[in-house]
């Protein structure tokens, strides 16, 4: 009997997926209840480092400011390129015009930070609930500060976005201001999703060796230096959480190159090969270019495989990276997937990933925290991937964990990071075995 059958309220919610992308349909456990995830504001913590000329101004409450500082924690010592305009009673009670207040705050900020070239006004739950129109504000302020500063807006609110969806919302806001690629221009490649600079450079080198001449990145390191987009654009998603951005790009004529996500040997190879094919690159050349990286990654993974093989893993919903990472751990390291939870399942983008899952993998979408923890306790996986709020409590119950947030903050894509990625899972297990206290 599986854990599902014995747990109250779980079996009933198994629904047959009828999405067109997956055939045959795989059952998905859909749950609603308490969700233990960050909101989209959290994306600011890596986005503000990635886009070096951009500043993120959250229009929110003291809670939003506190979230950013707690999630950023000890990671940031320098003065960050983000801040919160904390709304106060006066703003809500209509004693002052919130739009005027925003003008005042933005003007002061831009005065103090002349290095800012792009300013994102980021909506939060409170600003959404009181319907503070940040698009209007961005337009008005943009008219004043362009061309020195471009002002854009998106919402990272917790009532609309979950953790990495904040990046999706931010990148979608950039799409309309990308320059147009002429309709008759030759095909160009676009890598979509923020990657650590070192990984981005590795990919750019590989594409250059393959002979793909024009390759752009979204986000660009310099937000005022965006790549072009148009019908000639073929884009590769580097991250699995970019549904809105993909739609916006398609709206401008770009076409997605379908591929696995670039995690591990298989994922990275598939991703690079798919690009090669889309650009009509000679297959032998592609293989020749990726061979050294493939071999290096395979060698490095072989060292880690004995530590992870046969180990059972559960993912709690967090970053939407769960599905491709689970595929990597299953296929390349021989781990057994117990439950793969994700806050949101983008069926089309993940179709190829899901095809790889074994038949017994429990796939869940959304969350009912307490029930899910009951399942973890019943399953007793060797390792559970979860958010920061849950890691120590689960360890306290004797369950080994891996904090999911590290997966978003570390370089894990591509051949040369495949072993680093595996190591993130191997280390907690090794540590558990090392400690004799």
């Amino acid at each position: 009997m599986s854990a599902l059958d014995i747990l109250d309220g779980c079996a009933a919610e198994l629904a047959r997926d009828t999405g067109p992308a997956i055939a045959p349909a795989r059952p998905v456990l859909r749950e609603r209840g308490q969700r233990e995830v960050f909101c989209g504001l959290t994306g600011i913590i890596w986005l503000h480092r990635k886009m070096q000329d951009a500043f993120f101004l959250v229009v929110g409450s003291r809670t939003c400011a506190h979230l950013l500082q707690s999630a950023a924690g000890v990671m940031i010592f320098a003065e960050p390129r983000f801040a919160t305009a904390i709304m106060e009673e006066r703003d809500l009670a209509g004693m002052v015009d919130a739009q005027d207040e925003l003008d005042r705050v933005v003007n002061r900020l831009l005065e103090r930070r002349p290095d800012i070239r792009t300013l994102f006004l980021v909506g939060s739950c409170p600003s959404e609930v009181i319907k503070l129109d940040l698009a209007k504000a961005a337009q008005r302020l943009g008219a004043v500060h362009m061309p020195r500063v471009r002002i854009l807006n998106y919402s990272g609110s917790g009532i609309e976005t979950t953790f990495t969806q904040g990046e999706d919302a931010c990148l979608s806001a950039l799409v309309p201001v990308m320059p147009a690629l002429a309709a008759d221009a030759p095909k160009e490649l676009l890598i979509v999703g923020s990657l650590p600079d070192i990984v981005e450079d590795q990919f750019l080198r590989l594409f250059a060796e393959m002979g793909i001449a024009k390759v752009g990145c979204l986000p660009a390191r310099n937000a005022r230096d965006l790549p072009s987009v148009g019908p000639g654009t073929r884009y590769l998603l580097a991250q699995p959480f970019l549904g809105e951005t993909a739609m916006a790009l398609e709206g401008r004529g770009a076409q997605r190159i379908e591929a696995l996500f670039p995690f591990g040997v298989d994922g990275t190879s598939d991703w690079l090969r798919a690009a090669g094919e889309a650009f009509g690159i000679d297959r032998d050349l592609t293989e020749q270019v990726i061979a050294p990286g493939r071999a290096r990654a395979a060698r490095a993974l072989a060292n880690l495989r004995p530590q992870l093989e046969g180990k059972r893993i559960t993912f709690l919903p967090d970053s939407q990276l769960e599905v491709p990472l689970a595929r990597f751990l299953q296929d390349e390291l021989g781990m057994e997937l117990v439950e793969v939870g994700t806050p949101y399942l983008h069926r089309a983008h993940l179709a190829r990933e899901l095809d790889r899952f074994g038949p017994n993998v429990r796939l869940s979408e959304g969350q009912h925290l307490d029930r899910q923890l009951d399942r973890v306790r019943a399953d007793r996986p060797d390792i559970t991937v979860c958010g920061l709020g849950l890691a120590n409590p689960l360890e306290g119950e004797g369950l080994t964990t891996k904090w999911a947030i590290e997966l978003v903050f570390s370089p894990i894509h591509g051949f040369d990071q495949a072993a680093d990625l595996a190591e993130l899972f191997a280390r907690p297990l090794r540590r558990r075995d090392m400690l004799e206290i």
């Binding site: 209840g33 308490q34 969700r35 233990e36 995830v37 960050f38 909101c39 989209g40 504001l41 959290t42 229009v59 409450s61 003291r62 809670t63 400011a65 506190h66 979230l67 500082q69 707690s70 999630a71 924690g73 000890v74 010592f77 003065e79 960050p80 801040a83 919160t84 305009a85 904390i86 709304m87 106060e88 009673e89 703003d91 809500l92 919130a98 207040e101 925003l102 005042r104 705050v105 002061r108 900020l109 739950c125 409170p126 959404e128 609930v129 009181i130 609110s157 917790g158 009532i159 609309e160 979950t162 307490d370 958010g387 920061l388 709020g389 849950l390 890691a391 120590n392 409590p393 306290g396």
Partner: protein
């Protein structure tokens, strides 16, 4: 709207969480969106708790707005009560839920839950974390205290006391409590209950049985203590025993209310701080200039210790909590300085840079500031990072707390004889500014960004002289001489010289001015 990068305090519902997490068998149903669950990590990561905070978040979404957010709240409350079987629950709204006005109080009342429900009104757009903690604790006490208790007559039994204030995520609350219990044991005073830390709602019902209260952390317990004073006629000890002097007064106050002999507690032989401070090695501490910032209680206590127990000179004092600013103002007056009452860390940074202290005592924010400015620092107050929740016993209160404080504050400073060696052999290549105090390589001061001029290699300084902010001019020669002064007193030397030059009306600071100023300030 207020522009903030870092904040000293979270929103008021985080204060409520600190109370709920400290207590046992109490549950908090918080109407809030999913992102607000970040607050769990404050307790599980920063404080390293091995248990989830007892909080159920309703995590409503945009699509629920205007439809069934009230239903979601009721479902969450019902499930939480069924699953966790608390003795009582507190219910409330975070900033977002406050705007949608679902009225968690009314909703939960209508549900007829099988346990007491304590509704919280915590205005998120006006108040902050400490206020939220105080209000939550007050509401819990007010709702649950059994008002019919009659205290037994005092004769023939030990005095009984409530210890009020310790919470989760408090700065050294766990260890302070151990010290307070030790003192009470020496005085023969019984502890009726400690709250919030470790108390159940049932424990709170018998809060009226104590003869008096100890308000350990006024920021959290003062409100409740005032109500208890009125309702149960329980006087309160309000002396916060941080520092040797304050610990002695605290013992005297408790002994008086308990009708006990203070001698056994006053004679505690583990009090080493007074001798450590009098021993000759400590001479070099004399008049070290220290800048203090934190919550009011800890800042005031630190200022007293600095002045009276270590012989420092307090050159800056402030707090981020307006509620208790009065105490800080009074203490600042005793130090002869202007208090700094602000929750804007940039203002604090400016004040520290201007004061150029030799030691900063503050929160994690001041630690970052001090690090940037290359000034030694010790942490004395919340908010703090994970490294300020040590595994070892490390109290601030009582005589042991004073011992700990001596060690913690003196450690970041350059030690006595080393100071002389640094002065005498300035040219020794190993005595570079970056080397810092020899006993902590990892924490050695770095170049200060605000002092870019003085810290830059002399060669980089444009000839013939740099105009300072206030228009005084340092000659290259004087600037180079200043470099030879050890880093930990250079800020002071620069400031003194500039003040002296300004007072004398000298437009240029040359070698002559530098040494004239040195003579002027000689003590």
């Amino acid at each position: 709207m207020q522009l903030a990068v870092w904040t000293y305090e979270g929103p008021p519902h985080v204060g409520a969480m600190r109370v709920a997490t400290a207590m046992e068998k109490l549950h908090y149903v918080l109407h809030a969106p999913q992102g607000d669950t970040y607050a769990d990590l404050l307790f599980t990561m920063i404080e390293r708790r091995g248990k989830r905070p007892p909080v159920t978040y309703t995590t409503f979404e945009a699509r629920d707005l205007g439809k069934d957010t009230a239903q979601i709240f009721q479902d969450a409350a019902r499930e939480a009560v069924a699953r966790f079987k608390p003795q009582a629950i507190i219910v409330g709204a975070s900033c977002t839920a406050e705007l949608i006005q679902d009225d968690p109080a009314g909703l939960s009342e209508a549900m007829g839950l099988p346990c007491p429900v304590i509704p919280l009104e915590l205005p998120s757009y006006q108040r902050k974390e400490n206020w939220g903690a105080a209000e939550t604790f007050y509401q819990i006490v007010r709702t649950l205290a059994d008002k019919s208790v009659v205290r037994e007559p005092r004769e023939g039994r030990p005095a009984r006391v409530n210890i009020l204030g310790p919470t989760a995520l408090g700065f050294r609350h766990r260890d302070d409590l151990v010290e307070i219990r030790k003192i009470l044991a020496l005085l023969g005073v019984e502890v009726n209950l400690v709250a919030p830390l470790g108390a159940t709602p049932e424990d709170i019902t018998r809060i009226g049985q104590a003869d008096f209260n100890i308000v350990l952390y006024p920021e959290i317990a003062d409100e409740a203590a005032r109500w208890l004073e009125k309702t149960f006629d329980q006087p309160a000890v309000r002396t916060v025993p941080i520092g040797v002097g304050a610990t002695r007064s605290f013992i005297a106050d408790v002994a008086e209310l308990a009708g006990a002999d203070p001698t056994p507690a006053l004679g505690d032989t583990s009090s080493r701080m007074p001798w450590w401070s009098r021993s000759v090695d400590s001479t070099y501490l004399t008049s070290k200039r220290v800048f203090i910032f934190g919550d009011a209680t800890h800042a005031v206590a630190a200022a007293r210790i600095a002045r009276e127990e270590l012989g420092f000179e307090v050159c800056g004092l402030g707090c981020y909590s307006r509620e208790f600013a009065r105490e800080v103002r009074a203490e600042a007056a005793r130090c002869g300085i202007e208090p700094l009452i602000t929750d804007d860390h940039l203002a604090v940074e400016d004040a520290i840079a201007a004061a150029a202290p030799e030691l900063v005592l503050g929160t994690q924010m001041e630690r970052h500031i001090a690090k940037r400015l290359g000034i030694p620092c010790a942490v004395i107050s919340a908010p703090v990072h994970v490294q300020d929740f040590p595994a070892r016993h490390s109290p601030q209160m009582g005589f042991e707390g004073a011992n700990v404080i001596f060690d913690t504050w003196v450690h970041p400073l350059v030690m006595g004889l080393e100071e002389h060696l640094l002065t005498m052999f300035r040219e020794d290549f190993e005595f570079s500014d970056e080397a810092g105090a020899s006993h902590h390589a990892a924490h050695s001061p770095r170049k200060a960004s605000v002092q870019a001029v003085s810290e830059a290699p002399v060669e980089d300084i444009p000839a013939p002289a740099m105009a300072d902010d206030d228009g005084t001019l340092w000659t290259v020669e004087a600037e180079r001489e200043l470099k030879k002064i050890p880093f930990f007193v250079r800020g002071k030397a620069r400031r003194n010289t500039e003040n002296f030059a300004a007072a004398e009306g000298r437009r240029q600071i040359d070698l002559e001015t530098l040494y004239d100023a040195k003579a002027h300030y000689a003590r």
